[in-house]
């Protein structure tokens, strides 16, 4: 440390050019060779913007000395890159001397002179070609006991990198102002430093030139330095320089990489001799050593790791976003979003699930043809996936919905043979059971549906269909049990609630039809069906018939029956059961000998039967309109499918926007037509009952008319 303590003295000696001139010179304290050399890259003392060049944590130690020990300085610096654009640095300069009083230099009561500095630097890459930097310095200044202060000063710098390429190399041009601001007591000059640094020929040649205007606001004086270094191999370089103080120096640099935890280590040595300087100051050999070590990950690795962490979450986030859309029943958007997951992240562990829900989204939009493509592609691409049986199940389901029984059978066979232990098997059993039921294959249907256990979500549905089969087969006791099984389960969703309403009506019918009818229980079941149920009209009519059945013994029941008929007319005015309601009303009126109204009721029945709900022309027109509106359905479906597999570029988004009105048009047409078909189906059912109603209404009308005539002549009893 003796060398270090003599640094101030040495600095003064060097700068003054007079070995005995021991007067402190503030002018060039920060412009000595040590600061110039040490500060260039790491400490950012000359230009704080320089530190952004460090792409890795860097620690540097520097020492200047003369062999005769007249001067020295020690220096430690650290630089820490943060993210891609930010870098911070810290440096400590130890600079001081203890002077022998016998030299008669001072008479201040103290032999200690210190001027240590702590620097904190920050560099910010504004653009890739420009960096700004700033330092804050705290000075510990003790001038032979005169003062011990901690004033602060700041430096600012800018650095340009006009080019960086293999042909022209890497060029930096920088400018900075030292002590741009300083508190009273800091007591140094304000200096302007300009520098050029070039590295080229595949990093084998390095050149540097610096120019400083010292105390540019006062007694300005200039200093300059140049140097060059040639790498003879990647490890070893030789060069030379002329320092700010005019010393020609020989430079040597050697480096090694990956030395245990040290990623990079470099030693730089500058040597000179006073004898070859412009003016021999009798200080013999001069030497300057810098040791540089780099640790930890590079900016590339840190940035890479962050990017990797972000990207590894990206597929999951995209999947969850798509699922959210799906659960919100925004099926078009979810089809696109799941498609993006499939295409963008093909190795993502849920890509198969994304593909599955892409298909489900399309299926929910009634785009069955392209949904099938998605499932078939999924089977092909994710052949080892647990979702393969689910793909087959969806294919089975579509085939069922389209009444494509052979395709349904094929897909079911695959599930039953290859995936019989899959959790989708019972779903497949149910759907295939339904398919058999729809084909009238009751025994096959029964076999599959009976295999569905009580714990299965399909149990209630299976029991309902089994109840229908039993009813069809005249096994009323079994039917009763099946429907009861549906009703005893707690509904978990609207679909199950609907199922229970249907089961209640069916069970009511069974109880009504028993040799010993259980009308009270049946009535109870019918009246449980709420008015917003699609079974409401049927339940209300059946309830009315329950009263009619006992009205002979209790005429007041006609009023009760009428109330239920009124409920239908009030709450379900378009119901196909209204003609039958009028028939029941007519019977009641007739029983009360309200013959005029009874005639009207029966005539109404006849009129409604005659008119029907829809004419053949209306059905034809509606069908033609639907076919016209959906003529491009396949084409639009295909477009949606294609677009769901294209990543959302600007152009793709435009295309999606363009196809949207067509999707909406087709969806609206389909929805309208499905509602229309429901009416048509009801009409078909109505047509089946038409003959019975007509016969009953004709007979009842004749009776009512007779009643009316009799009333005019004194009455007739029935």
């Amino acid at each position: 440390m003796n060398n270090a303590r003599n640094a101030a003295l040495a600095a003064t000696l060097l700068l003054s050019g007079n070995a005995l001139a021991l007067e402190y010179s503030k002018t060039r304290y920060q412009q000595t060779d040590y600061f110039g050399d040490f500060g260039t890259n790491t400490a950012a003392f000359i230009n704080p913007g320089n530190i952004t060049d460090a792409d890795q944590t860097e620690v540097m130690f520097g020492m200047y000395s003369t062999v005769n020990g007249k001067a020295g300085l020690e220096y430690v610096s650290g630089v820490f890159p943060i993210g891609y654009n930010h870098t911070i640095g810290a440096s400590v300069f130890i600079n001081g001397a203890t002077v022998d009083k016998t030299e008669g230099v001072v008479d201040a009561g103290s032999t200690t002179w210190r001027k240590d500095a702590i620097l904190l630097g920050y560099g910010y890459r504004v653009f890739h070609w420009m960096t700004l930097g700033a330092n804050v310095q705290v000075l510990n200044f003790n001038n032979f006991g005169d003062a011990k202060t901690y004033p602060i000063a700041t430096d600012v710098g800018v650095l340009f990198n006009p080019f960086q390429n293999s042909k022209t190399g890497f060029l930096k041009i920088g400018g900075s102002v030292q002590n741009a601001y300083q508190q009273p007591g800091f007591d140094n000059t304000q200096n302007v430093n300009l520098g050029v640094h070039w590295l080229g020929l595949d990093r084998s040649l390095e050149g540097r030139a610096e120019f400083s205007m010292i105390d540019f606001t006062g007694q300005s004086q200039n200093a300059w330095a140049v140097g060059a270094l040639y790498f003879m191999s990647p490890n070893v370089a030789l060069g030379g320089k002329i320092t700010r103080e005019g010393f020609p120096m020989l430079s040597f640099s050697g480096n090694a990489q990956r030395l245990a935890i040290i990623r990079y280590f470099e030693i730089e040595l500058d040597i000179s001799h006073d004898g070859i300087s412009w003016e021999d100051q009798k200080r013999g050999l001069l030497w300057n050593v810098k040791l540089t070590s780099r640790f930890g990950p590079t900016r590339e690795e840190v940035q890479g790791s962050k990017r990797y962490t972000r990207l590894i979450r990206e597929p999951e986030e995209a999947f969850q976003a798509a699922m959210k859309l799906y659960l919100q029943r925004r099926f078009l958007e979810s089809a696109y979003s799941f498609g993006r997951v499939v295409v963008k992240y093909p190795t993502y562990r849920k890509a198969d699930i994304a593909s599955y829900y892409q298909g489900k989204s399309l299926e929910n939009m009634e785009m069955n043809a392209v949904a099938k493509k998605v499932y078939q592609t999924g089977i092909q691409n994710y052949d080892a996936s647990a979702y393969v049986p689910k793909y087959y199940f969806q294919l089975l389901n579509i085939a069922y919905k389209e009444s494509n029984w052979s395709e349904a059978q094929n897909n079911y066979n695959i599930i039953a043979s290859q995936y019989k232990s899959s959790d989708i098997k019972s779903d497949a059993d149910y759907v295939m059971g339904q398919a058999y039921f729809a084909q009238g294959k009751d025994s096959e249907s029964r076999q599959l549906l009976e295999s569905i256990g009580k714990d299965d979500a399909n149990y209630g549905y299976a029991q309902y269909t089994l109840g229908q089969i039993a009813t069809r087969e005249g096994k009323l006791e079994e039917a009763q049990q099946r429907f009861e099984a549906v009703l005893t389960r707690q509904p978990r969703n609207k679909s199950e609630k609907d199922l229970q309403e249907a089961a209640a009506v069916r069970l009511g019918h069974v109880l009504y039809s028993l040799p010993q009818p259980q009308l009270t229980r049946a009535l109870d079941l019918y009246t449980q069906v709420p008015s917003n149920s699609s079974y409401y009209d049927e339940a209300q009519l059946a309830a009315a018939w329950c009263f009619v059945r006992n009205a002979a013994s209790n005429p007041k029941f006609w009023d009760d029956a009428n109330k239920h008929i009124d409920n239908i007319m009030d709450k379900a005015p378009t119901s196909i059961l209204i003609p039958e309601g009028h028939l029941v009303k007519g019977y009641g009126q007739l029983s009360r000998k309200d013959c005029g109204n009874a005639v009207k009721s029966f005539e109404t029945v006849q009129q409604m039967i005659g008119k029907g709900f829809l004419t053949a022309e209306e059905i034809q027109k509606k069908t033609t309109d639907y076919q016209t509106a959906t003529a491009d359905s396949s084409e639009v479906m295909e477009k949606v499918y294609q677009l769901s597999l294209q990543l959302p570029s600007e152009r793709v988004l435009d295309k999606r926007a363009a196809v949207k009105p067509n999707i909406d048009r087709i969806a609206t047409a389909k929805e309208d037509f499905f509602k229309f078909q429901d009416i048509v189906n009801k009409q078909k059912k109505f047509e089946k009952d038409k003959a019975r109603l007509e016969k009953d209404a004709t007979y009842a009308l004749a009776t009512a008319k007779k009643c009316l005539e009799s009333a005019g002549t004194g009455g007739t009893e029935f």
Binding site: H128, E300, L311, K344, P346, T347, Y382, A384, L647, S649
Partner: protein, 312 residues
């Protein structure tokens, strides 16, 4: 769950349909810039770019081929604004010099094909691939500030990094980091300032028939460099950036020494060679006594090894 996913599967149907209507647009004849051309093409289309310097940052489109007229004279200059080219699933780029970006080509969660380009003088990595499956073939990757190719979490089951010439990059020729799997074959790594090939311990890299020569270090201890790899002077026609031609001379030892008997380094022919694992010899450990064996990792100097090779 295991997926048998291969590059380009997902749009099989879409691709076929679109291919029927595929078109080629020309820059700058039809569109003044590459970006403008991308706004007007669809899956299956090709953008042909005539020679010239295009100061743009380009994002590839899915299923669109971006073709340069000549890799030496058709230049995309990223202007240090970001990646010069941003990869996209099933995008393809060839025939360009890609320079002066932060990364030359950046691939994030994507599956592009990158071939027959010169990717040089970028300020980050030449190619940065993160959780991607890029097929990187027949490129010159030269003088980039960071790694020539940085692979992070790449799980390239069915795609290859092959026949590239990766020279004088700031860190390693190729850095394979994070968990994953990569296949390297028939590449040349020369004069990179850290390793020729650097492999993270989590990464499984199959390294066959490459030439790793005169890098600061040839490769690290996790790089399983077997005896099919070489360490020889590739005899480039010219490695000077002023007349860069990194094809090998006729007398180069790289010719016919690659996997499948194709050339190591830039290769004009098709690089359809046997798949990984087809050659049992390729999985054997490196044998330093072999003429063609690569140098040992880290410690031993390449120079001495190369001398040994050349002396035989």
């Amino acid at each position: 769950m295991k997926h048998s996913v291969s590059l380009g599967f997902a749009l099989g149907l879409a691709g076929l349909t679109s291919a029927v209507f595929a078109k080629t647009v020309v820059v700058p004849t039809q569109y003044p810039s590459i970006r403008e051309a991308f706004r007007n093409v669809d899956f299956g289309d090709t953008i042909f770019v005539k020679a010239g310097v295009y100061n743009e940052n380009v994002k590839l489109n899915q299923g669109v081929v971006l073709a340069g007229e000549n890799p030496a004279t058709t230049i995309i200059d990223g202007g240090r604004r970001g990646p010069t080219v941003l990869g996209e699933a099933q995008g393809e780029i060839y025939g360009f010099t890609i320079r002066n970006g932060i990364d030359g080509i950046l691939c994030e969660n994507t599956t592009p094909k990158i071939h027959d380009n010169i990717i040089m003088d970028n300020h980050g990595a030449g190619i940065g691939a993160y959780i991607s499956q890029p097929h990187i073939k027949n490129n010159v990757i030269f003088g980039n500030r960071w790694s020539g190719i940085l692979l992070y979490g790449v799980n390239a089951q069915n795609v290859w990094i092959e026949n590239n010439v990766i020279v004088r990059n700031g860190y390693s020729g190729i850095s394979a980091l994070g968990p994953g799997r990569v296949n390297l074959r028939n590449n040349i790594f020369v004069g990179n300032h850290e390793y020729g090939v650097f492999v993270d311990k989590e990464m499984d890299v199959r390294i066959n028939n490459n030439n790793i020569w005169h890098n600061y270090y040839p490769f690290n201890k996790y790089a399983k460099v077997n005896k099919t790899n070489l360490s020889l002077d590739p005899l480039f026609i010219s490695a000077s950036p002023f007349s860069l031609n990194l094809k090998c001379k006729n007398e180069s030892p790289m010719l016919g020494r690659g996997e499948g008997k194709v050339d190591i380094g830039l290769y004009d022919g098709s690089t359809v060679v046997p798949d990984a694992g087809s050659s049992s010899a390729s999985d054997e450990p490196a044998a330093s006594s072999s003429e063609s064996a690569a140098p040992p990792a880290d410690s031993e100097s390449e120079k001495s090894n190369t001398s040994k090779n050349n002396s035989k």
